[in-house]
């Protein structure tokens, strides 16, 4: 089973690399999907540039989401912040309930076209999984362990940094992973407001009824999402092993 997993990962990576670096290879496959002699391979820019821009957009948004959600999640699980839990939860939920397209529609008149409105939409959309998992992860730490830490004379800060956070980390990472993967797909809509990314390929295909373009853009985004999801899964398991929550 493990061998199969490695082969699938290697296959996915190779396919992704080929799609980004050697798009010409796929011309014979994509040709039948085009009509009236339209180009089968995206020709309005470098796929590599778009992929990097896309990844950059998601990375910046996810880091910002993570910082916001972690800070908020940690704050509301401290005794001093407990009363802000319902309020924070409501705010974060609104971020999730509001469709990113609607956020773009509101943000563009305020901040203009480009990367900024897309980042706002992605950050808001990515908050919830990290926030909720931070709370769950911290709450699930065995109270006996925290009691022992107090009894040994660890200060509140030492208890948090040395015990609570490392033990909650696998659950927090699971939230981060979910958030990144959601944003991988959601970032494509940024192209509607002129943010550089793989959405351009898909939108170009939609505008010219070119299924080959749509497939190309979609495949790259999907492969990126699957591979990142998988890589984070491996990281989580490694962290969980270190946290002693699963057997080595």
């Amino acid at each position: 089973m493990r061998i199969l997993g490695y082969m699938a990962r290697a296959g996915g990576l190779l396919l992704l690399a080929a799609l980004v670096f050697m798009p010409r290879w796929f011309e014979p496959l994509l040709r039948p999907l085009t009509e009236n002699g339209a180009p089968a391979i995206y020709n309005q820019g470098s796929l590599l540039d778009l992929t990097l821009a896309h990844l950059g957009l998601v990375a910046v948004a996810s880091i910002a989401s993570a910082i916001l959600a972690l800070t908020l999640g940690i704050f509301v699980t401290r005794p001093s912040g407990a009363e802000f839990l319902p309020l924070s939860r409501t705010i974060v939920n609104i971020g999730q309930v509001f469709p990113p397209v609607a956020v773009l529609a509101i943000a563009v008149p305020l901040v203009g076209f480009g990367t900024t409105p897309t980042l706002i939409a992605l950050i808001l959309y990515g908050l919830l999984p990290i926030f909720e998992n931070t709370i769950t992860g911290l709450r699930e730490v065995n109270p006996t362990v925290i009691e022992a830490a107090r009894g040994m004379g660890l200060s509140a800060r030492q208890r948090f940094m040395d015990v609570e956070l490392p033990l909650a980390l696998p659950v927090i990472l699971a939230g981060l992973r979910l958030s990144i993967v959601i944003n991988m797909g959601t970032a494509t809509i940024g192209s509607t407001v002129a943010a550089k990314g793989l959405g351009e390929v898909i939108i170009a295909g939609l505008q010219s009824s070119n299924t080959a373009f749509i497939l190309q853009g979609g495949l790259i985004v999907a492969l990126l999402a699957v591979l990142i999801y998988d890589a984070f899964g491996l990281l989580e398991r490694a962290v969980a092993r270190r946290a002693g929550t699963v057997d080595a």
């Binding site: 065995n142 009894g151 004379g153």
Partner: protein
């Protein structure tokens, strides 16, 4: 020495601990016994100030515990809880090193102390030092918990139901280990338990609590002989009293000169176990041997039975 003076703790409107005063001698084991909600754990946790007393004072070796910060105080007091509370993401060695690391000991000194403790608790350092808690059995986890509590050589060891999560066979082994360890280190142990049997077996003094009040503070023999009327009496269970009394004394106390037939009993056996042996073998007397194997006399049924009654001086005035 731990002096607890007029200590109370109020939670909201309820008084969890109500004006308790106790003096625990240095190097002894004291058991605090009571049902759940009796305030026994609260009393224990006030000694290391995991719970702050609402009123009263606690002094350890003459020093008021309120004169230190809670964290400083707790780093100087061993603490063992039910279900061990080991840090699951740290190895056994790192767990044991918790307090020495907090106290910023040098690495070489910490390493030395960790191996010393592993040896003391009969855990092979080469096998266990780098294991994680979930890879150990319940009994081993409990021992690592004790090792962690003893790491910084505290003079006081607080134990809150330390054997509660262990199955009976491992529990009696763990109790025997604790007794041996305490004798060796001379540490002052305060142990909270709901199990009177455990208290009688381990402790030199027993404090019985109910509803936040200290009902009686006495040695096991005294407690058995003269339990306070009511709750303490019920907790002791009057029907088992003679047998419990016999459990407190060893054959060495009742040995008499003379010969007897049969396999000898060691003089360290409790009178309770010797009685069981006599009954099982349907004998009226058995030879007694000392630790070196020499026969030093005999133990008779009559001698045991004579020690199973209420002490003459302390027979309750009926």
């Amino acid at each position: 020495m731990i002096e607890i003076e007029h200590v109370s703790r109020r939670f909201g409107t309820t008084l969890a601990v109500d004006d308790v005063s106790l003096t625990l001698e240095r190097g002894t084991i004291t058991a605090v016994v009571g049902t759940s909600g009796s305030g026994k754990s609260t009393l224990l946790r006030m000694i290391n100030r995991l719970i702050e007393p609402s009123s009263g004072a606690i002094r350890i070796a003459g020093q008021d515990t309120a004169s230190l910060s809670g964290e400083e105080l707790r780093r100087g007091i061993g603490y063992v809880i039910q279900g061990h509370g080991l840090f699951p993401h740290w190895t056994v060695a790192r767990n044991i090193a918790t307090v020495p690391v907090l106290l910023k000991w040098e690495k070489a000194r910490i390493d030395r102390r960790v191996s010393e403790l592993l040896e003391l608790l009969q855990l092979d350092a080469t096998v266990y030092a780098n294991k994680y808690p979930h890879q150990l059995s319940g009994g081993q986890q409990q021992r690592v918990g004790v090792a962690r509590a003893l790491a910084a050589e505290p003079a006081v060891l607080l134990m809150d139901e330390p054997f509660g999560a262990l199955d009976p066979i491992i529990r009696s082994q763990a109790q025997a280990d604790l007794l041996a360890l305490q004798r060796r280190l001379g540490v002052t142990v305060v142990l909270v338990t709901h199990d009177m049997e455990e208290a009688l077996h381990l402790a030199g003094h027993i404090a019985v609590m109910d509803g936040g009040k200290l009902l009686q503070f006495a040695s096991p023999a005294e407690l058995l002989a003269r339990p306070k009327h009511g709750f303490v009496e019920r907790l002791i269970g009057t029907s088992d009293r003679p047998f419990r009394l016999l459990s407190l004394r060893s054959v060495a106390d009742a040995v008499e000169p003379g010969d007897a037939e049969g396999r000898p009993v060691p003089d360290t056996t409790t009178l309770h176990d010797a009685l069981a042996d006599l009954l099982w073998r349907q004998a009226t007397s058995l030879p007694v041997m000392s630790a070196d194997g020499a026969i030093r006399g005999r133990i008779t049924m009559a001698a045991i039975l004579a020690r199973a009654g209420a002490p003459a001086v302390s027979s309750p005035p009926e």
